[in-house]
């Protein structure tokens, strides 16, 4: 007869409010095999755990059920405690009676909650009776990290990991690292020049002997698991030999062909052989193969003629490399919602309606106007500029329902930069709320209003149209209750920050989750903000959701600490949730082999003493098996079972129903 203990947590009043935990404890005590039950205020607290451990020892329990919060919260906590008390940790099971019972059934009589808790606990008890002792699996760790995305978050992560003594590869899609931050003019609330603080870090990353930069590259395929990822990276053809190019610039000076500059968001042109911006790292140009006449129709080739070190190679092809990593940091960043998404603001057709990022380029000393504020249509200095906040944000009908978080601050910054550059100009800001939580942020916004004279109007703009060379803004000031019309020279939209196109594909390649906006899911939004549910893959920066530079940098550093912790020993332990083959009943039909998503099942040769192969049977590679259980269902003779989720455990739970 098993000796089972049941611990029902009140979670303060979180569970107790709708579940009579004492009654649950009393009733479950009557079940066969249950020898100890108790209800306690906070099982996860240290006195709670102490009494848990004591009860295990005192009652010589061989299995414990904790009916408390979701196993995603505290399964580890209690399993660790059970182990400390001498139990195999897989003899500890959690019943989820908070997230899936007490919090979702608001019955004041507590009947519904109590009944359901009892049911659920009974199911867990019966399941527990079928649990087997399991031991963790140890696997080797490749001490080499991959950082996907070379923006500020990725750079910070790479620098910190490298400073911790481990090797890092940064994969960046663009020809240069730097990301969106490289585009910014100055940064709130300190007004540091963005490039002044970013470029030293870019250079440091380039020169660091533990960091390799794979620019103009993308991740194609990810295999393996924590500690042992095998990643295929596509290095797109740059048509320039990186080892010999000196970055002298002769080629792009001489190149006679131009295209819209992606980096300048269409505000100016770049050459067809180009670096995205002058401080690019690495300072090696690439050829835009979709526009280069030499590549397209074998004409021109001027760049190759003027190149001193003969670095131009028109025959280069995309290259696939496969490398091994122990951990992956995802820092793929964000984009702004395109202006064409805003119907009432002219669908991006009104030239003088620009995005906040375009304004950054206008205000940047290295931008297309050298830092002078000029409106795109006629290059004149705009005297009235209207800034529209929440363009696309907090608009669940046509945009995104969330707040983009950084726009309040950068719009305040824009009005300041504008006033500093156009002394007789007037800035107007349409806002719904000003969200300036952050150190020195509120003071910064007040400064924009009080010192730099920005006119803040609380209301949304209904419509923007052109009339007689002006941009007419029709909106409301809800504080006075009036309609407002402003004849402006230029409009700046604080456009919503959205995930990158293809963010979902990247997530699928990596096997991590994402929300409906294609921002990546943290393992836990509060307590595991940089982890994903896929062990060994971490998240930093705006690929998770809107955030500002300080936050992105913090997350970069946070992922680095996670990676370094993982790399601190040569081997790591893994949950033993893996499939196992019963060699007596395996039919060798190989359905499991075919259906396994991980190529974790091998055909094992069974030999007799003389070494002759007498049979072939399926065999699960513990290192590769991730424990999904697809093979278990594929196996008709039930010769495979999944540890931790065995047929017997599931059966016991269903049978209790």
């Amino acid at each position: 007869m098993p000796r089972i203990g049941v611990f029902v947590c009140q979670c303060g009043n979180n569970i107790e409010a709708t579940v009579d935990t004492q009654k649950v404890a009393d009733e479950t005590k009557k079940l066969p095999g249950v020898v100890h039950t108790e209800s306690y205020k906070f099982m996860c607290s240290s006195p709670g755990q102490d009494s848990f451990k004591k009860a295990i020892k005192d009652n010589k329990l061989d299995g414990v059920v904790v009916s408390a919060c979701s196993p995603h919260m505290h399964e580890k906590t209690f399993r660790r405690a059970a182990e400390a008390a001498g139990l195999n940790q897989f003899q500890c099971e959690i019943t989820n009676v908070r997230e899936q019972c007490s919090w979702v059934h608001h019955d004041e009589t507590r009947k519904i909650g109590t009944d359901k808790t009892m049911d659920l606990t009974r199911m867990t008890i019966q399941r527990l009776k079928k649990n087997r002792d399991l031991t963790k699996i140890t696997i080797p760790v490749t001490k080499r990290a991959l950082v996907i995305g070379g923006g500020i978050a990725g750079i910070q992560a790479a620098l910190d990991i490298a400073d911790g003594g481990q090797e890092v590869v940064i994969v960046e899609k663009e020809p240069s690292i730097g990301g969106n931050m490289a585009r910014l003019s100055e940064t709130f609330p300190t007004m540091d020049c963005s490039q002044c603080i970013l470029t030293p870090k870019m250079v440091e990353a380039e020169l660091h002997d533990k960091i390799s930069l794979y620019t103009y590259s993308e991740v194609e395929k990810v295999d393996g698991y924590i500690g042992n990822f095998s990643v295929t990276i596509k290095k797109k053809a740059k048509f320039v030999d990186e080892s010999t190019c000196t970055g002298c610039g002769e080629c792009w000076e001489k190149c006679p062909f131009k295209a819209d500059s992606e980096f300048e968001l269409g505000l100016s042109k770049r050459k067809v052989i180009y670096t995205p911006f002058p401080q690019a790292v690495p300072n090696i140009p690439v050829i835009d193969k979709t526009r280069c006449p030499k590549i397209l129709k074998d004409k021109c080739g001027l760049c190759a003629k003027v190149c001193g070190p003969q670095s131009i190679d028109f025959t280069q092809e995309d290259q696939l490399v496969t490398e091994e990593f122990g951990a992956i940091v995802v820092a793929t960043g964000y984009e702004l919602m395109p202006n064409k998404d805003f119907g009432e603001y002219g669908y991006g057709k009104i030239t003088d309606v620009i995005s906040g990022m375009q304004f950054e380029r206008l205000a940047s000393a290295s931008g297309p106007t050298g830092g002078a504020i000029r409106r795109p249509s006629d290059n004149t200095e705009p005297k009235n500029v209207v800034f529209i906040q929440c363009a696309g944000s907090r608009d669940e009908k046509r945009g995104v329902s969330y707040c983009s978080k950084i726009c309040c601050m950068y719009t305040a910054k824009h009005t300041m930069l504008y006033r500093h550059k156009v002394h007789d100009g007037q800035a107007y800001v349409f806002y719904m709320d000003i969200r300036s939580g952050g150190k020195r942020y509120e003071e910064f916004v007040r400064g924009a209003i009080e010192h730099d004279g920005a006119m803040y109007l609380r209301g949304r703009v209904s419509r923007v149209y052109e009339k007689d060379g002006k941009v007419i803004i029709q909106g409301a000031d809800t504080l006075s209750g009036s309609q407002v019309e402003i004849e402006a020279d230029m409009v700046v939209l604080a456009t919503a920050l959205v995930s990158r196109p293809g963010a979902d594909t990247v997530a699928q390649t990596l096997g991590i989750g994402y929300d409906k906006y294609k921002f990546y899911n943290e393992y836990h939004p509060k307590l595991k903000p940089v982890e994903t549910v896929t062990a060994g893959i971490f998240l930093a920066g705006t690929c998770v959701g809107p955030m500002d530079i300080p936050e992105s940098v913090s997350q970069g550093s946070a992922t680095a600490s996670k990676v370094l912790a993982l790399f601190s020993s040569d081997k790591m332990a893994r949950e033993p949730i893996t499939a196992e083959v019963n060699k007596q009943t395996c039919n060798a039909c190989w359905d499991c082999v075919t259906s396994c998503p991980y190529v974790a099942i091998e055909k094992e040769e069974i030999k007799d003493r003389k070494g002759n192969v007498v049979n072939m049977l399926a065999h699960v590679n513990d290192g590769l098996c991730q424990g999904c259980g697809v093979c278990v269902c594929a196996c008709r003779s039930k010769a495979i079972d999944l540890n931790g989720y065995t047929d017997e455990q599931v059966y016991a739970a269903i049978a209790t129903f």
Partner: protein, 286 residues
Amino acid sequence: MKIPYYPGCTLNTVAKDFDTSAKESARAVGFEMEDLEQWNCCGASFPLTPDNIMGLTAPAKVLSEAKKAGDRLTTLCSVCYNVLKRTNKVLHDDKARRKSVNEFMEDDYDGSLDVVHYLEVLRDDIGFEKLKETVTKPLEGVKAGAYYGCMLLRPFDDIGIDNAEAPTVMEDMLKALGATPVDFPDKIECCGAHLAMNNKEVVQRLSGNVIASAANEGAEIIVTTCPLCQYNLEGTQESANADTPNVPIVYFTQLLGLALGQDAANLGFDNNGGATEKFLKKKGLI
């Protein structure tokens, strides 16, 4: 191709000319509009309160009749289009309201009709390319401002026949007729609609804005799709003070008929106020 057609009250009476020119034009480009055998007023307003079942029954009756004639129904008047199409959608999507409405009807109707505006037939069935080929008297040199108003565009999810903020279907039609469309910001603003009944001041102001906006962008003539817009704009034009620009207002089927070679005498320009005829004469079109 024959399409059942719902004339509606206004186009069957005071604006009969618009209706006949539309039918003639249809014939010229290759389709036939067949009046429903039985029809009643659509109510001229879609009930904005969802609990107003009675407001749905009149249009539901029309739709139910139309279903007997075929799977599609076309209209000319923007309001009729709005009311019928929205009612149709409610009856299609909302089982509870469908049931309530059907309790008041002889034959049950399930919202399976496809309600289309005349402009949609021209655009999607005929095609403006084909229309262009049919034109016999191109409206050359006519700078026309297409005025959409509300009912053809909003609410976009339920009825919008074109982009709600930047529609182009009328401009495309005008282009096909040989005219030069003029885009103006107020083309999607309201004319004042039924406030004509008790609030002339608002109508004059709103319609006045529309006219001024069109004139400001260089429109010589404003083209409407809704008989009520037509009435409001015309009325505003007539009683306008000196600084309102004098821009003739025409219904789109009038221009259509003219370009397709119909006799100008039958197009009802004489009811549009003197300015229209004067303008068309000046352009050598009549």
